[in-house]
C-alpha cells in the first residue's frame, strides 16, 4: 500500500506536471522544481482476524411482536475477510424447503420454531458454514438504521412498481428513502421470484456499505449508525462490540464484494409456494468462500 499510494499520488499529479512542462517557455530563466510530498494511509479496527461469518436476518414481525415471532423473509450469510477487505453475501431464498426439527418446512420458519440458533443451524446445513454471529432486525430497526443514511443507492436489474410508496423502480441505479428501501426489500412481484428478492437484499447491504464508507469521516455519523444498530438489531453483541463492528465494516471495500443467491426449483407444498434449494450449488459456494470470503468460482448456478 505504501509504494502503491505514492505511485498513485504521483500519477494524480502527472498531468499537471506535464502541462506545466509544456507551458514553460524554453527560454525560462532557470529550471523550476515542483516538490510533492507523500501521503500514506493506514487503517485498522480491532474486531478479530481472518474471516467473520455473519448471518443477517430480516424479520417480518409486526409492531408489538417479538422479532423471533416473525418469519425471516431476508436471510443472508455474509463473510467478511478483515485482512483483505473482501466480503461475500450468499442469499438464501426464504421459501427454501428444509428439514426443521418438527418436519419439512420453509426455512423462514426456523426462527419461530427454534430461535436464531435454529436458523443458524439450518443455514450451516445448507452452505456448510457455521455463522459466528447472528444479527436480526425488523421493519422499524431496518428503517431506523437506514434513516441514519438519509437515502441509499441500489441497483435493480429491472423496472418494477412499488405502489405502497408510489414509486417505480428503474432499471439500474435508484436512490431510495428508508421507507422506499423497505418497500424495495419486501417487494414480491418480481420477475425473478424469491431469488430476485434476495438479490435486492444484497443490493441494500451493498448500498449501506457504500454510504458507510463514504460518510465515515462525517462528524458523529458512525456514532449515529452505531446507536441505530444498538436499538434496531437483536444480537448477542454488546453495545461496545456493535460499535467496533460498525467501524470495522468500513474496512470492507465495496469493490471487493461478491454476491450470489442460492438457486433452486420453485414448487408447491401443502398449497404453499416453496423453493427446493440447489444443495450442491450451496455446498460449492460455501466451500469456495469459506476461507477467504471470495467467490472465485462465480455463482456456480445450474
Amino acid at each position: 500500500m505504501t509504494r502503491a499510494s505514492r505511485v498513485r499520488r504521483l500519477a494524480r499529479w502527472l498531468p499537471l506536471l506535464v502541462a506545466v512542462a509544456l507551458v514553460v517557455p524554453a527560454s525560462s530563466v532557470r529550471p523550476a522544481a515542483i516538490s510533492l510530498t507523500t501521503v500514506e494511509r493506514a487503517s485498522a479496527v480491532d474486531f478479530g482476524d481472518g474471516v467473520l461469518w455473519v448471518l443477517a436476518l430480516g424479520s417480518d414481525a409486526r409492531p408489538g411482536q417479538e422479532l423471533t415471532d416473525g418469519h425471516t423473509d431476508a436471510i443472508q450469510l455474509i463473510g467478511i475477510n478483515w485482512r483483505t477487505g473482501h466480503a461475500v453475501a450468499i442469499g438464501i431464498p426464504r421459501d427454501s424447503w428444509v428439514r426443521l426439527p418438527d418436519g419439512m418446512s420453509r426455512i423462514n420458519n426456523a426462527v419461530i420454531d427454534g430461535g436464531t440458533d435454529l436458523a443458524a443451524h439450518e443455514v450451516a446445513e445448507l452452505v456448510d458454514i457455521t455463522p459466528d454471529l447472528v444479527l436480526m432486525t425488523g421493519f422499524d430497526g431496518f428503517q431506523a438504521m437506514l434513516g441514519t443514511f438519509g437515502e441509499i443507492e441500489v441497483d435493480s436489474a429491472f423496472s418494477f412498481p412499488l405502489p405502497e410508496v408510489d414509486l417505480r423502480v428503474r432499471e439500474g441505479r435508484n436512490t431510495l428513502t428508508p421507507r422506499e428501501a423497505l418497500a424495495f426489500a419486501r417487494s414480491r412481484d418480481l420477475p425473478g421470484y424469491d431469488f430476485a428478492r434476495s438479490a435486492h437484499h444484497q443490493q441494500l447491504l451493498l448500498g449501506a456499505l457504500r454510504e458507510l464508507r463514504a460518510r465515515a469521516d462525517s462528524e458523529g455519523f458512525m456514532e449515529g449508525v452505531a446507536l441505530a444498530a444498538i436499538g434496531g438489531l437483536e444480537t448477542d453483541l454488546s453495545p461496545g462490540e456493535l460499535y467496533r463492528f460498525v467501524h470495522a465494516l468500513t474496512l470492507v471495500d465495496a469493490g471487493r464484494v461478491t454476491a450470489c443467491v442460492i438457486g433452486g426449483t420453485p414448487g408447491t407444498e401443502f398449497g404453499a409456494s416453496v423453493v427446493y434449494p440447489d444443495r450442491p450449488q450451496a455446498q460449492q459456494l460455501g466451500a469456495d468462500a469459506r476461507e477467504d470470503a471470495r467467490l472465485q468460482g462465480g455463482c456456480r448456478a445450474g
Binding site: A21, L36, T37, E40
Partner: protein, 201 residues
C-alpha cells in the same frame, strides 16, 4: 444526524502535559544549567480537544471528565509517537493505550502512525494538535468515541532544515473498566518527504 450534535465546546486540554513533556524532551536535558545561554527551542503546542457531537445529554462535569480522559490517551500517543528524544529508534511505546489487537495492527503501520520516518531528526515539535470528539452515548452510558484529529509537527533534520509532518484522520476509542483505549484508526500521514520534479529550461 442533527440530533447527535450540540453547540461546539472547545477545551484546551493537556496543555501542561504535552507542552511540558515536549519542552523537556526537545528543549534541554536535566544536566543543563538553568540560565546558561542557549538557543531557544520553540515549544510544542498544547493538545486542543473539542466535543462536537453526541455529548449534549451529559452534564458539564461528565463531559469535561471524558475530554480529559480521552485527551490523556491522545496526549500519551502523541508524546510517545512523535515527540521525545531524537534521534531514536523506539516508537512502539506510543501504542500502550491501544487494545491488543489494534496495537498489533499499529506495529505493522508504525511508519504511518509515528515519527519513525524522521527517526534521524534532531528534534520534533508539535505545531498543531486538534482533536474533535464524537461520542456514542446510549442513554447515560458512554460507549465509545471517535477522535477526528489534525496533528502537525515540525522535525529538525540532521542538516538543520525543518521538515513538516502531518497526521489527519480518526482514532476510534472505547471505554472499559474505567479506562479509554484506542481500538482502531484510519489516518493519513504526510511525512514531508519530497518528490522533486525538475522542469528543464
Amino acid at each position: 444526524m442533527g440530533g447527535m450534535g450540540h453547540p461546539r465546546r472547545r477545551v484546551t486540554h493537556g496543555a501542561a502535559g504535552v507542552a511540558l513533556v515536549a519542552g523537556v524532551l526537545a528543549g534541554c536535558s536535566p544536566d543543563e544549567v538553568p540560565g546558561e545561554q542557549q538557543t531557544p527551542t520553540p515549544r510544542s503546542v498544547a493538545l486542543r480537544v473539542e466535543s462536537v457531537s453526541g455529548a449534549d445529554h451529559l452534564d458539564e462535569e461528565d463531559r469535561t471528565a471524558l475530554e480529559t480522559e480521552i485527551g490523556d490517551v491522545l496526549s500519551h500517543y502523541v508524546v510517545r509517537g512523535f515527540l521525545g528524544d531524537f534521534p531514536r529508534r523506539e516508537f512502539v511505546a506510543s501504542f500502550e493505550s491501544f487494545t491488543s489487537g489494534a496495537a498489533r495492527h499499529a506495529a505493522r503501520d508504525i511508519e504511518q502512525l509515528t515519527a519513525a520516518r524522521v527517526q534521524d531528526a534532531t528534534a520534533v515539535r508539535a505545531t498543531r494538535l486538534d482533536a474533535d470528539l464524537s461520542f456514542l452515548v446510549d442513554g447515560q452510558d458512554v460507549i465509545g468515541a471517535t477522535a477526528a484529529v489534525r496533528f502537525a509537527f515540525e522535525a529538525t533534520m540532521e542538516d538543520g532544515k525543518p521538515r513538516p509532518l502531518s497526521l489527519r484522520g480518526r482514532f476510534l476509542l472505547e471505554e472499559g473498566a474505567g479506562e479509554w483505549s484506542i481500538f482502531g484508526y484510519d489516518v493519513a500521514l504526510d511525512d514531508g518527504a519530497t518528490l522533486e520534479t525538475g522542469v528543464a529550461p
